[in-house]
């Protein structure tokens, strides 16, 4: 400063830090470069006041900073340290201070230093620490399994939830030679799927049956994401309980449905085979009476009225029984039942219907689809036809039954006015077309898929896989 003032001050001012000089005993500044004002906001004059440094250092740092500096100065030792000061606006400014301890020829000690503003770096470090902490917290505490695999596919890290679920510790894994997948998925097909999932890293959930260390079987679901360096993160959940609850619900519904159908079948049989027979006998009796010689005309008129009433009664009974449960379904199979249903429906609504069957599965007794599937299909066709007559103003309705060894497919399509499926499915429950949901439920119960599309006309497609058992 004293040698070449202009050059020196130029240099000092261009530095992105505060160049300063201070008394070695009081730490009072004797010089600060103009950057000081910019970095902390205080006018330069204020810096030169006694105790400025101590008073404006962050309360948490002031004490150790003074002690540290005092100590170093006493030993004539250059030093550097990081601490916080409070700016004029009250904000925290992080500084990295590099200090030289100088002795004047007079023996007096003075300090010369440079303060660099490291607030941005500190903030970034802080952010990183927070992010790391969040990740660590997630990794350690959320009830989700997390594993890290290297680019070579080997497990590098598993979290506590994984350890808890499967029973091995990370240490166990590190001391093993073989891949843990061999133990977790003893079934080679599952293992292959697991490897494919890790390889593909498509971030979609896939369900796996897995085996824990104690041999218990678990239902798990996994998704994998790949990082830029080729390593991958797998996230998994133990869904054993959920699966069990779903299965219980499914079985309960299935049982409910079976009881319901049995009851309807019983009622239908009772109407048809018992009450219907009484009506037939009654008709015969009325005819016999009518043949008694020399009946008065009034009696004959009354008798023919009774006969007509009985016939009407019988016809209504027949319709009710059919609606409840067609005897054809149990006696002759699905094709006969659906044909009969379609005929009756076409006659009642004076509407055209076309049927296509391409499989003996619906006809030949020993190849027939199972009881539950048959009933489910029949009910869907029934409901679909009811909807078609009620809502669509269709001209022609198609019913198509197809099947091979692996699946059966049922399509009911009308060419009527259609409706907005999405609006319907999201509309309140009181809608009468609730039948749709009933259909969906029934089909899911027998493991099938239900699709509906409506635009110009409505198409319902049901596909049910057949398990060979």
């Amino acid at each position: 400063m004293r040698e070449t003032p202009t050059l020196y001050s130029k240099l000092v001012n261009s530095l992105d830090g505060i160049v300063w000089e201070a008394d070695g005993e009081t730490f009072q500044f004797t010089f600060v470069s103009p950057k000081a004002e910019k970095i902390l906001g205080y006018p330069l004059k204020q810096w030169l006041e006694p105790n400025f440094w101590r008073d404006h250092t962050h309360p948490d740092d002031a004490e150790w900073c003074s002690a540290f500096c005092l100590d170093c100065t006493k030993q004539l030792q250059d030093h550097e340290f990081e601490y916080r000061m409070i700016g004029a606006d009250g904000g925290v400014v992080w500084l990295h201070d590099i200090v030289s301890v100088k002795t004047e020829t007079s023996g007096a000690i003075y300090l010369r230093g440079i303060m660099l503003d490291i607030t941005k770096r500190k903030q970034a470090e802080d952010e990183l620490r927070k992010k790391t902490e969040i990740l660590e917290k997630i990794f350690d505490h959320i009830p989700v399994m997390v594993t890290f695999r290297g680019a070579d596919g080997r497990i590098q890290l598993v979290n506590r939830e994984w350890e808890k679920t499967f029973g091995w510790t990370l240490l166990d894994l590190q001391h093993r030679n073989s891949d843990i997948l061999t133990d977790v998925y003893p079934d080679p097909i599952s293992r292959r799927r697991a490897r494919d999932l890790i390889e593909a890293a498509s971030a979609e959930w896939l369900d796996f049956k897995a085996k824990a260390r104690d041999g218990s079987l678990l239902d798990t679901t996994w998704a994998v994401a790949r990082l830029s360096d080729g390593t991958s993160v797998s996230i998994g959940q133990n869904i054993t309980e959920r699966k069990r609850a779903e299965e219980e619900r499914r079985q309960l519904l299935q049982r409910l449905m079976t009881v319901h159908e049995d009851e309807r079948r019983h009622l239908s049989r009772e109407l048809h085979d018992n009450i219907g027979q009484y009506l037939s006998a009654l008709l015969l009796g009325l005819e016999s009476v009518a043949r008694v010689p020399e009946l008065p005309v009034a009696a004959l008129t009354e008798l023919s009225y009774l006969k007509e009433t009985t016939k009407q009664f019988e016809s209504d009974l027949h319709s009710v029984a059919l609606e409840l449960r067609p005897t054809t379904l149990d006696d002759l199979g699905l094709e006969a039942a659906v044909s009969t249903l379609a005929r009756e429906w076409a006659k009642r609504h004076d509407q055209r219907i076309r049927l296509e069957f391409n499989s003996s599965r619906f006809k030949t007794p020993n190849e027939r689809v199972s009881y539950d599937i048959g009933v489910a299909i029949y009910r869907v066709v029934q409901e679909a036809l009811t909807n078609a007559s009620r809502h669509s103003n269709a001209e022609v309705v198609s019913v198509i039954l197809e099947g091979d060894n692996n699946q059966v497919r049922v399509i009911v399509e009308d060419d009527g006015s259609g409706f907005d499926v999405d609006t319907f499915l999201s509309s309140p429950v009181e809608n009468r077309r609730l039948g749709l949901m009933g259909m969906q439920e029934r089909i899911q119960l027998v493991g099938g898929e239900f699709k509906i599309e409506s635009g110009s006309g409505t198409t319902i497609v049901v596909t049910i896989p057949l398990s060979e058992s």
Binding site: L284, E287, T328, L332, A336, R343, A346, E356, V396, S398
Partner: protein, 214 residues
């Protein structure tokens, strides 16, 4: 003239008694035996060799159709008139296949039943009026294709879309498959149906099978 000997197989007692009285009233008919299930009907037929068995279709132990098959095996000369409460023509097919010569609804008039028995006794076949209606006026009659369509030929795209329809695809699925809009699919479908004079999906399936697309 010798009376027609009739075996009455009907599990419902009251109806059986009514039928017996009715048949016995006829000057040229008599009930020679009764059965209340399929097995007994079969055994009594072997034992009594009646001219006609009046057979209820739904009976316990052995149903009417099964009993008919057994009777036709052991006594081919015995004629069978099926008696049923079922209007479904599916039963009709089943029973006729089994070897019955007549099919009468329980709701039919007495005269019709008597007429049926007489026709069958003379070696004819009888199907009751209501069921005959089902057969001749069925809205389900199959259509016969003459081969190539008479109108304009289908475009490749139309053939592609029709065969996807026939294979159970929905319009949306076809649109996705071919990367075109649902509207376009609907238009192609409507045009090709018009060219071929097809009125429904069922006819498309039938036609596709005829052309060997499925």
């Amino acid at each position: 003239m010798e009376k027609l000997r009739i075996l009455l197989a009907e599990d419902h007692r009251i109806l059986r008694e009514g039928l017996k009285r009715l048949i016995d009233e006829q000057p040229n008919m008599e009930v020679v035996g009764e059965a209340d299930n399929g097995i007994t009907a079969w055994q009594k037929t072997k034992e009594l060799e009646p001219d006609i068995v009046l057979m209820d279709i739904s009976m316990p132990r052995l149903n009417g159709a099964e009993a008919t098959i057994k009777i036709k095996e052991c006594c081919p000369n015995v004629k069978i008139v099926a008696l049923t409460g079922h209007r479904a023509s599916a039963y009709l097919n089943e029973v006729l296949k089994a070897g019955a010569s007549g099919y009468v609804l329980k709701q039919a008039a007495v005269d019709e039943l008597i007429e049926a028995i007489q026709i069958v006794a003379k070696g004819g076949n009888y199907i009751d009026r209501a069921s005959r209606d089902f057969i001749t006026h069925s809205p389900l009659n199959k259509r016969v294709y003459k081969g190539e369509s008479q109108g304009k030929p289908l475009s490749q795209r139309e053939i592609q879309i029709l065969s996807l329809v026939a294979n159970g695809y929905t319009n949306k699925e076809i649109a996705n498959e071919l990367a075109i809009s649902v509207k376009t699919v609907e238009t192609h479908k409507a045009n090709s149906m018009q060219k071929l004079d097809l009125k429904s999906r069922a006819e498309i399936v039938d036609y596709a099978r005829f052309r060997g697309w499925t």
